[in-house]
Amino acid sequence: MDTNKKTIVVFSGDLDKAMASFIIANGAAAMGNEVTMFFTFWGLNILRKPEKVKIKKSFLEALFGWMMPRGAGMLGLSKMNFGGMGASMMKTIMKQKNVSTVQELIESAQSLGVKLIVCTMSMDVMGIREEELIDGVEFAGVATYLGEADEANVNLFI
């Protein structure tokens, strides 16, 4: 089997873009590729645990954390979100058409060995701590991403 590498930078925290990212990641893994996803800025929100984690934070960090969606189930659409109504409509349709949710796609990706790497600088900026993110993710910086991207033949920024 070809062991081509694919890397995806997940910058966006929108529901539709998160879905696209994880569909590509799952597909690539199923084609026998080694896949690494890097989560930075808004993309971090996709990997947040849905429950509130008690951590001591500064006022601004706490406010930021409160303003951003807590986990894959809370993401909004990049277009036509209408305060979350668009996202609910999309999720209803997805359910009717048997399309996997982002949470299911994340689980599937992890079971296929897709590496999920979180940018530590973004974590710092957004005040998100390791305990607030789902299990099985790794923490690194831009050099790790560039190292992987150098070996990959496809690199996406979503």
Binding site: D2, I23, N26, A29, A30, M31, N98, S100, S108, L112
Partner: protein, 74 residues
Amino acid sequence: MAEILINARGMQCPGPIVQLFKEAQNCASGDILCIEVTDHGFKKDIAAWCRKTKNELISLEDEGGVIKARIKKN
């Protein structure tokens, strides 16, 4: 040589190829994987999957919206 039937009816992309990949990992060389899918994109996808994973697509039929593919694992 074993023959494995995978029912991926009703599954949306990328479900069928993920399922196929997982089953193929547990197969021996020469085993036949038969997969049934209702997602239309699969007709083209299966050819690409076989090419990339170096498995052989033996047959591909569309029976009233159900796509049936037979793949030989190499």
